[in-house]
């Protein structure tokens, strides 16, 4: 209990710091930076769209890790965190998809272009929507946790595919992060990189709070039974 209290304090700190950093970066993206040469003002969506996409892909990696950990350890905690990471990542990737299609309307002329990355991310969205569909269809706790953990391992192929899609197929999406550095102006990097951390911090706090809620609900159910 003592350790949990301590972690809760740290998580609250991360959460508040994340939100403050996000507001600061939001200010940087929307007001501090000037309009871009070719894209005008619409490029500002980049600072919200890309971080949430990156964080959601990292989050699905978390789902994979917790799923494998569940298969090895068979503990309730791993299952709960696998679900929490998947749930919050699904929300983040949905936000990234919506913001992306708004940006696409301004930059490429249409809301949806069936660009390789758009398609790959949509498929990824379906995989994790299927993950929750699978979970909702199995009542038994062990069978549900096991089946969904295995499915998360299979479904993870779509994550590297979504990341590499712009490199495998010809895409409208530019490649931003190279092995040699970033394809961005220094002033933009100063807003972009902190924004990734801000979104990541918000993500972590959400996962932790959701996982904690599910854990206590599970314990209560056990006590009642």
């Amino acid at each position: 209990m003592e350790i949990e209290k301590k972690t809760q304090g740290i998580i609250m700190l991360i959460s508040v710091a994340g939100f403050l950093l996000a507001i600061l970066c939001g200010y940087g993206a929307l007001i501090y930076l000037g309009p871009e040469k070719t894209l005008g003002d619409s490029y500002r969506i980049f600072f919200f769209h890309t971080p949430s996409a990156i964080v959601s892909l990292l989050g699905f990696t978390g789902t994979l890790i917790f799923s494998v950990r569940y298969l090895i350890r068979r503990d309730v905690e791993s299952d709960i965190y696998a679900v929490s990471t998947a749930k919050v990542s699904l929300v983040f990737v949905t936000i990234a998809l919506i913001m992306g299609s708004i940006w696409a309307k301004f930059a490429w002329g249409e809301y949806w272009n069936w660009d390789p990355r758009e398609t790959a991310v949509l498929i990824l969205w379906f995989v994790y929507a299927g993950y929750f569909a699978l979970r909702s269809a199995i009542d038994e706790f062990d069978a549900r946790a096991r089946s969904s953990a295995i499915f998360a391992v299979f479904g993870y192929v779509t994550v590297p595919l979504a990341y590499l899609s712009t490199r495998i197929w010809a895409s409208l999406h530019p490649v931003i992060i190279h092995t040699t550095g970033m394809n961005l102006e220094p002033r933009m990097v100063m807003v972009f990189v902190p924004m990734i951390f801000a979104v990541l911090m918000i993500y972590i706090s959400f996962v932790w709070i959701d996982g904690r809620l599910k854990k206590i609900e599970y314990q209560l159910m056990e006590v009642v039974e």
Binding site: A137, S147, V153, G155, T158, I168
Partner: protein, 220 residues
């Protein structure tokens, strides 16, 4: 090990050929789907859309048929016997994969000529088209054989199966269609090199993942 795989595949095939129920259902379903396409796609544009349609037929048929391999064991109540038999889980999986592959090869041999005849298609490179479809189906079989065990305990598993399978095999679907289009246009093996690299690496990755996780999938 090889002997166990062969035994399981042969046992299933013998069971199947006694009744031929799955095979007949798959074949009928394929013909009905082809008929649907004949009324939903204008005849002039069939040459361009044929690769996608032909592959869709296999997708629908495979979706119905491949999951039968394990569902039948559940229905007949023989799954527990299979689990307690002295064969390793990976042997069971590979046996089922081979069984499904044989089924799909039979389907291909029947459906592809019928499809070509029905729509009067011109196929530039028929052997390559067969090769592409077979490779695509191999990927499909590997994934669906192992994923179909996940829905065994689920409610409305017939609905759930396509929902979780289609997104995972999406890379197979898209590359097979583009490879098939190439083959129908008269392309040679070198033209579909990239498609093959993608398909084969997908199959290898999925086979490894299946073999690693199948032990857990069969547990109670």
């Amino acid at each position: 090990m090889l002997r166990h795989i062969k035994e399981i595949a042969i046992k299933d095939l013998r069971l199947e050929f006694r009744t031929k129920s799955t095979l007949n259902f798959m074949l009928l379903f394929a013909l009905i789907t082809s008929m649907m396409f004949s009324i939903s796609v204008p005849f002039q544009s069939i040459q361009g859309t044929a690769p996608g349609l032909l592959w869709l037929v296999f997708l629908f048929v495979g979706l119905m048929g491949f999951s039968r391999a394990f569902l039948r064991e559940v229905e007949l109540g023989t799954l527990d016997g299979l689990k307690s038999a002295p064969v390793s889980p990976s042997d069971i999986l590979l046996g089922k994969v081979i069984y499904n592959l044989v089924l799909v090869l039979i389907m291909e041999a029947i459906i592809v000529p019928v499809f070509i005849g029905l729509f009067d298609l011109e196929i530039g490179n028929l052997p390559l088209a067969f090769l592409v479809i077979t490779t695509g189906n191999a990927g499909f079989v590997v994934v669906s054989s192992s994923l179909s065990t996940l829905v065994l305990r689920a409610r409305s598993r017939e609905l759930l199966a396509p929902l979780i399978m289609f997104p995972v095999i999406y890379p197979v679907i898209s590359t097979t269609i583009s490879g098939l289009r190439m083959a129908m246009g008269g392309g040679v093996l070198m033209d579909v090199k990239n498609e093959f690299i993608l398909l084969v690496s997908f199959i290898i990755i999925m086979l490894i993942v299946s073999l690693l996780t199948f032990e857990y999938a069969l547990e109670d």
